[in-house]
Amino acid sequence: MDLSRIKSRQSSPPPLPTAGRGGAQHPEWKYLSHAELMGLKNLLFAARLIVEGAYAGRHRSPYKGSAAEFVDYREYYPGDEIRTIDWKAFARTDRYFVKLFERETDMACHVVVDRSASMGYGGKAFNAFFPTKEISKLDYASYLAAAIAYLLVKQGDRVGLTLFDEKITANIPAGSTFPHLYGILNLLERQKPGRKTSVARALHDVFALHKRRGMLILISDLLDDPVSVFQSLDMFRHRRFEVVLFHVLHRYELTLPPLDSVNFIDAENGEVLTARPEDIGTSYERELRAYLDAMAAGARARGIEYNLVSTAMPYAAALQKYLLHRGAR
């Protein structure tokens, strides 16, 4: 394997946007701004360790006993295992490269993102009430999905993306290339909040798309009947999918926004309720907490990874939290 091959490989992915909302060169690729990428790069070491460590040796390959075959080099990133550094390549090039091995079996990760109307909470309309800009749940979920997809692609894993509201609205099958990643990011970029939520139905549809076991990462506000949702997730568990739930709620959904009298309009059915947040805040939080506890308990009972994420939480922190938790397993 000569270095030219390494160089060409290095140049295969197109320059990632560094301008945009976070400074990405291509504004449309806002989810992978340079700053965010830098942040992601900070997570890569831990993420890569955890994911690779979790995946490597854990993949249940139906082809047991087969050794991994060397297929390529890639540049060394801090955090990569030292033993994978090709010292010969270093001697030749004065640069660190690691060897890439073909996995006998690769586990696809299916990122399922909820783009129903309720995920639009916290967007432009919301920002009219507050001096600081708030991020919508959909945006947050998209950030999170993008970060996960990037990490996975960078790790050489296959990742697919499915978007849904009351049914599947878009699906990108799992892939591991950067063009594939770009497609995922492009899809995420274009998303606007959709219609009513039907998580259970959407999961049913997603289940039909993915026959082989893999990882299911569901990023949603889960505003659906918990029993139905868990019943749908049970199908994935039965097929031995590894399920991770990112329960995304806006910070002004976990606590009511600090407003006076508000006409609350249900995002999905248009129902109206007039109330004062300060009057019903405590009772609301109590009701919501009971629901969240029920969701966590249901997930825990099924061995489903459950992560409650607030839009106030930096998404990298949310991901790191998940990765660290996974690293502990």
């Binding site: 407003l259 009298s261 508000v262 006409n263 609350f264 309009i265 309720l273 109330a275 009772s283 009701e287």
Partner: protein
Amino acid sequence: MGGWTLAWTNAALAIGAWAVAAPFIVHMMTRRTPRTLVFPTLQFLKRAHASQSRLFRMRDIILLIVRTAFITLLLLAFLKPVLRARAMTDAGQQQQAAIIVVDSSLSMQYNAGGVTPYARAQRVVSDLLDHIPSSAATNVIFASASAKPSLATPGSSAAPLLRDVQASAPTLERGDIGAAIDEAVNQLDAFPNHARTIYLVSDFQRTNWAAAPFGAIPDDVKLVFSPVGEASASNAAITNVMLRPRSPVVSEMIEIVCSVANYGPSAIDITVTLEMDRIGEVPAQTPESVDTLQRQIRLAPASSGSVSFRLRATDTGSFEGHLRIPDDNLSADNDRFFVFDVQNQIDVLLVSDATREAQSSGYFVLRALDPFALDTGTPHASTVRARECRARDLDLPSAQPQVLVLDGAGPLPTRSAEQIAAYLADGGAMVYFLSDVLDKSNLDAIASASKTTFSLPFTLTSMINHRALGSESASWTNANFEEPVLRRFRDGRDVANLLFYQYFGTERVQGRGQVFARYGDGNFALGKGALGAGSILLCNFSAARDASDIATRPAFIPLIHEMIKSMRPQEGAVSRAIAGEAASGSVPASASATGVQFFAPSGKTVSANTDRRGERLSVILSEVDEQGFYRVMEGSHHLGSLPVNVDARESDLLALSNHELEQLAASPKRKMAAASGRDAIEALMDGVPIWPYLLLGAMCVLGCEQALLLMLKK
């Protein structure tokens, strides 16, 4: 009474009423229009909202109400409202005129517990004068037997009124409430444009006030009743004295009947004591002292009864009698004074123009009455002393007889008819022998002259002359021998044989008088009628020989005497003069009638008008204010006495309630109020301040607001 209304003593601060709107303004300013926010799901919001209490959801409105109430109560407190009797409002800037009528009648002397109603009345009047504005025209009228104003016209100075009230005392007189009210109205008539008020301070005795002429008070005059009487008063009193017979003669048994009343809630035993200055012979079987007699009587609650003292008149002359019962809280009505004369004979006056004619009825009647009447020089022991005069010479006021007999009287002049009518109305007795058509016109003349109803048992039609009719005579076929005049002839034989030739046809007047005897042809022979307090015995027959043969019968003289005796007043009140009114009477006149003096019971000299008529001296005391005997003296010689007593109606202390007074005095536009006691007067005049309660209410509301906020916070 009359209701209450709110008045504002600090109305100028009403300019601060805008502050009441402050909570509302703040509420509107701080209220935010609900902002519209699309929320992911309402399921948790709905549950949270449902768990909110209704109170919590309405808290803004509730707090707004509470805060507005606080401001309002505070503002109202600063306006210093007072509750004022409706009768006392609307004087405003108007000049005021006030008359205070103070009841100074006998009942105001009632003394239970050391304080009399009059003493309370004096305090009430003092309080009223304190509160009536100094610019008001004010006067005080004392209501006794007459209305006595303190000032001739209302004035603006209360000092002389206060002095008069403090110096005044209750009288022994009955309160003439009508006169007092009339005087008050007359005095207020001089102030037509003023806010006029009459304050009535009294114990509001039912006997005085039930007929008070409230209707004479103009509707725009406010009435304020100030009861000062006892809540429950008990009293015993001597209410009347009757003498039976009214004019006793020597050796006759006299019965003195004393009426006693118990105006109290419980039965009482009363000892009635009689004192006489000249007492007759006491019946042998009674052990009482000659000077003082006593009787016991037990009276149930709110009842009256009588006791009798029987005496025999052993001497002629005037006698003073003094009845008394033990003193109680109202002592003035525990005494009764009376005077009566014991005559030596029954005095009969025969009015006839024919006594000198033999065979005339008058002649026979006079001889039957008093055989010695025509012979004045001969002393006689007859029980009847008959005098005679002609119709035109009749002069009753000079010497009223016990019985007046008309027989063969000529046409009565108007003056004579008036005298007879007045005599009868005052309780006189008359026997009229009807024998001539002149008698019909005389009866008509008396009826015309009388001011009261002349009630005769039958009317006269035409004269019936049996001889002319060929039927000889008629007899009495039907007689009521239970009547006193005929009782003696119970066996009927004596009167059944009397023959009557000439008499009037008669027609019965149903429901009037009584008939005692009837002729065989159905015409009435004897009947009794009335005029005022007096009575008339109508004899439809004549003693003249050509009219009947009764003058020749043995029954004639006893019949005439029984007529006289039965017609003599059997009983009569002997104490008519009332304190506060004029007292009149007659006493035996001395030969000279000069040097006569008149003394009140206290011994002070009083003046009187006199008029000598024959052997009697008429005495008129224009105003008597003491109770007891007003004595007529000529030197040391006691000519006679005029008894003066308190009015028995003052003894019943039952009072009208405020409600009853309101009903009596009510008229559509009249304003009334009631207040007794200093506090009530102040409340009435100044109003009851209620601003402290409003302030307290405001503090309570503030506390409620804080409690509400704490509760809502939780």
